[in-house]
């Protein structure tokens, strides 16, 4: 690989996307609160959209495809964040906590 030109190789973007995805999963399992899990979910989505952008730029016959998908992912993620935050506020009102350990009313 030509080191001067490594921003124009697909592999770099794929590896960064895979690492972002893995870090998101790591955080999803490690965090104890709903906010932490939401943040990790955003990281997973970021890894996916980086993959879409990279394949759209390097491989797709029409580069608009990857960009449109990434825009859709951004829109869906914004909607998801709004819903999750409002659910979290409702949960905090009822339980006085956003840690997943305390939300066990329906536990068997």
């Amino acid at each position: 690989m030509n080191l001067m030109n490594w921003s124009q190789t697909l592999d770099v973007y794929l590896i960064v996307g895979a690492l972002l995805f893995a870090i998101g999963i790591l955080g999803f399992l490690k965090h104890k609160t709903l906010i932490g899990m939401l943040i990790s979910g955003e990281l997973i989505l970021a890894g996916a959209s980086l993959n879409f952008m990279a394949f759209g730029y390097f491989r797709a016959p029409n580069p608009v495809t990857g960009q449109a998908f990434t825009l859709f992912i951004i829109g869906i993620a914004a909607a998801e964040t709004a819903i999750v935050l409002s659910i979290m506020i409702a949960v905090y009102r009822n339980y006085r906590s956003i840690e997943t350990r305390d939300l066990k009313e329906m536990e068997g």
Binding site: G27, F28, E42, L50, V64, A68, L71, I74, A90, E99
Partner: protein, 182 residues
């Protein structure tokens, strides 16, 4: 007399270095977001990671999506998370040490389970070629045209989803406002 190093001869090196810096910022921010116990640091790491990701989008010949990434993720999503965090408690209570080591190991294992095959797959395939597209393809005009013709249906669906999300968020957050026990 010839000048041995013109400024143009450094452009490639500087560009590669900035690209490396963006990758480092993205991954360090993501690690900060994933592993920090203080949630405020998690959100700051998320903002850092998304800023680096916007830089990577810029290197993919797409300044429009880089700006959208900063505007929506850093400017809106992170700020919204921070506002919600002000309403709840700020920190996670730390686990006992043995349990925290166990959880860390298990989550590392799960992350490696996804990362290692994906990275090996990316390295094994024969994708090392220059971009197939022309330099000026995929500009913002093309994107706008495609959003309103080829992807028109998905575009409308997204707007309906966003409307429903706003209404749903209002309804969910509003219920129970009256009966807060002191």
């Amino acid at each position: 007399m010839t000048i041995p190093f013109t400024p143009e001869s450094f452009y490639g090196v500087v560009s590669a270095l900035i690209f490396a810096a963006f990758i480092v910022v993205t991954l360090v921010g993501a690690l900060m977001a994933a592993t920090s116990v203080r949630l405020i640091r998690s959100v700051c790491g998320l903002a850092l990671s998304f800023t680096g990701l916007a830089g990577l989008y810029y290197y993919l010949n797409n300044p429009f999506l880089a700006l959208m990434q900063i505007l929506i993720y850093v400017g809106a999503v992170c700020v919204a998370i921070m506002f919600a965090m002000m309403l709840a408690e700020l920190n996670e209570t730390p686990r006992p040490l043995a349990r925290s080591i166990l959880v860390g190991l298990v989550s590392l294992l799960a992350a490696a389970l996804f990362a290692v095959p994906l990275i090996r797959l990316a390295g094994r395939s024969n994708w090392m070629s220059a971009p197939a597209v022309k330099a000026n393809a995929g500009q913002i005009q093309d994107l706008g045209r495609a959003l309103l013709t080829q992807y028109g249906f998905a575009f409308e669906l997204i707007s309906v989803v966003l409307l429903l999300a706003i209404l749903g968020a209002l309804v969910v957050a509003r219920s129970g406002r009256g009966r807060i026990q002191p």
